[in-house]
Amino acid sequence: MSDQQSDGNAVTFQPPAGLPPSQAVQAAYPQQFYGQPAPFPPAAPGPGSVRPVPVLSSEGGIAPGPPRAHPAYVLQSALRMIGLLFAGLVTTVAGVLSEAGDAREARQGIVVVGVVLVVAVTVVLAASYIHYKRFRWEITETDIHVYSGLFIKKQIHIPFTRVQSIDFTAGLANRLLGLVRLKVDTAGGAVNKGVVIPALKLGEAEALRAEVFIRKRRAAGPPAAAPAPPQPNRGALAGFAPPAQPFAPPSAGQPFWGLQPFGAPPSPPRPPTADDIVREVGDKVAGLRGIFADKYQEDSPVEHEYGLTAKELLLAAISGDRTLIVFALFLGGGFQTFQFASQFVPAAAEPVIVDFLRNLAASHIVFLAVAALLFFLFLGAVSTALSYGGFTARRRGGRVEVERGLLARQYKSVAIPRIQAVAIRQGLIRRLIGYAEIRLLTVDSMDSGNGQKNTRSFQSGLVVHPFAKAAEAEAVLGRLVPELKDSLAVVQLKPLPKVALRRSVIRFGVIPVLFYALCATAATVALTRSPVLSAQAAVITSTVWVLVSALLLLHLAGSVLWHRHAAYAYGSGRLVIRRGAYAQTTTIIPRRKIQWSATAQNPFQRRSKVANIAATTAAGIAATTFSLRDVAAEDAAAYLDWTRPAPRPADSPAV
């Protein structure tokens, strides 16, 4: 198999010191990997460097042609299928058991379910194996080629100039195996689908990324452009780790690019603090490369790098919005579990349970509620800590790279020209303690369609700092992306006119509450008329009305807060919009990224002399519009004029 061949060479061959990275990578891979002869003959394999590569091919021999993905994903997709089926199966088995008249019928039912499971898993295994066999990729002088498809053969060619970013993600299993899922993003959002290689060794992925960017630069830039500053002599591919310490982080032993991973200067020995421990764990996590991952160190210099301190990670975990999300998920899940469990409660036990619930004192309920809240706070904190553990953001060349995740790990990068806007977001708790999340909003593309549905988070883009001091957010960004410096200068935001407060209260306060009150009235009427629930009707209706009053208060407070927060500014090359009721988001949109702008006014707004302003950028999959309601009408008109390009100099040709 070809990847066996390429791996063998990749890990055993030590390129001569001082070789430029591009050549070194080429040298490390066999001819067909890059479609051109390797400039140096591979060295003899050293001891300890030979390692088994799983072989699924029946031929056993080395298949010719371009490399394949790592075969591990064939098994993984089968496992995922089993996981998906499992929940359904449990229910089915339970149903079969409860329906079955006697033991024999039950046995037959289970056999049928088992056969279905085996067939499904076999089909998935066969499908992924065929996908594996058909899926090949290579990089040539000018493009990345991907061949796939069983009935319809697909060939995708992506020229290097179109490649915008190459990102990896690794779930926990892949993490331990040292594999990643690699995604090549192209310019052009939804139209140009990217390419996904479902499983690849981490080292190979890194080498591929470096090589593609080197070739991209070569293809785009003038040939005279020298490969930047003189680089220290390092082979693009370090040797395979000695078997004694297979999980040694790359920073162990020698300094990592002469830079401590978190930019801390070496200090005299002192008792380890919590920070040190987190830093060490972060290093370990970042250094954990898994079983199959080859070692690789990229050779372009890191210009700026930062991580999170222990305190920041802890506070970020506690103050995150995830608590609420986990709570909602749990409510949904809990309700289903309850429904599911209630099927198995024997009829005799029901009165006992009902009695137990009835006898719960109010204090118990309060205690339970507080305990549940604390529990969700804890779960949310753990979830945030897991996803942002080992967080590192760095600037390398023309890209911002972010790695994060304690268990599953993401390696994402974004090319600077792809940044469309910057969002600085503060949840409720974070606003109170003065911290914010910084996100770069970028042009996203869909995953290519090979069965992998993209699980898109509700907001796209790249978080470059999950927990920065709100006052320093601009400074953090300025160091990471100096290109945005102009757009980040602190500016006096202009609030909305007074009339907007009235409109905000009506829109966010009165109208939704009227709607709730209408529903509550309907419920009250229905309950009082209903003969079944007449006993509990008083309790239920009073609860409903208490809830409606609480909502009224929340909505009114929110609408006032919205008006207080809403503000905007334009000028010196960017538009700034701040909005949000309890949470608050400040969005900075460079003027050159505004694809088109608009104002809109409905008849009510015309009477109040206000208008909405909007700026549409290419962020997200198709486009993202950033807008603000109820700006004073003449300011809105002035904003629209500001978005007009400056008149061309008089000497330019007239049309």
Binding site: G189, V443, I594, Q595, W596, S597, A598, T599, A600, Q601, N602, P603, R606, T616, T617, A618, A622, A623, T624, E634, A637, A638, L640, D641, T643, R644, P645, A646, P647, R648, S652, P653, V655
Partner: protein
């Protein structure tokens, strides 16, 4: 203050809008009638008296007829004319202005630097009226100027293509 655009669409576009609105109403109402007919047929099967089933069918037919008449008066009678009054556009050297909308009055500014491609399109109704629509596409979506005389649309397309290229060179 923003200068409001002054160029108007060809008056014949109102005819196009009327026809397409009428077609839309026809299609939707046919679907509604079909669904209602099926539902009434279902009622008959469930042993409701044939008298009351007939009454329901009558009521449904009358309802659909009234709704259709209302929609026709509004969307074929009034809306196209008002929409034409509100529609205006202007092609400047550096940007395109579009004003439109009946309830929400929108004013769009599309800088020519951002224009990626331009084209003219013509559907059957537009062709029957000797019109074409002109579309500019940016990285964040398209904007159409729907009703222009064919030659005017072609001229506009060529003009905007040229202006967009000049604007690109300036960047």
């Amino acid at each position: 203050m923003a200068v409001l655009p002054t160029r108007k669409l060809d008056k014949r576009i109102t005819r196009v809008w009327r026809v397409s609105a009428a077609l839309n109403i026809f299609v939707w109402m046919s679907c509604a009638l079909l669904a209602l007919g099926l539902a009434v047929a279902g009622l008959d099967d469930e042993g409701v008296g044939s008298q009351s089933a007939k009454a329901v069918a009558m009521a449904a037919a009358v309802g659909v007829a009234v709704l259709t008449a209302l929609l026709v008066v509004v969307f074929v009678g009034f809306v196209p004319a008002i929409r034409w009054l509100q529609w205006s556009f202007e092609v400047h050297d550096e940007e395109i202005d579009i004003c439109k909308g009946i309830f929400w009055r929108k004013h769009l500014v599309i800088p020519l630097v951002r224009v990626q491609n331009v084209d003219t399109r013509q559907g059957p109704i537009l062709r029957a009226n000797g019109l074409a629509s002109f579309t500019v596409a940016t990285a964040a979506g398209e904007h159409a100027i729907p009703g222009l005389e064919v030659n005017e649309a072609d001229a506009l397309r060529d003009q905007v293509a040229l202006l967009a290229r000049l604007a690109q060179e300036d960047v």
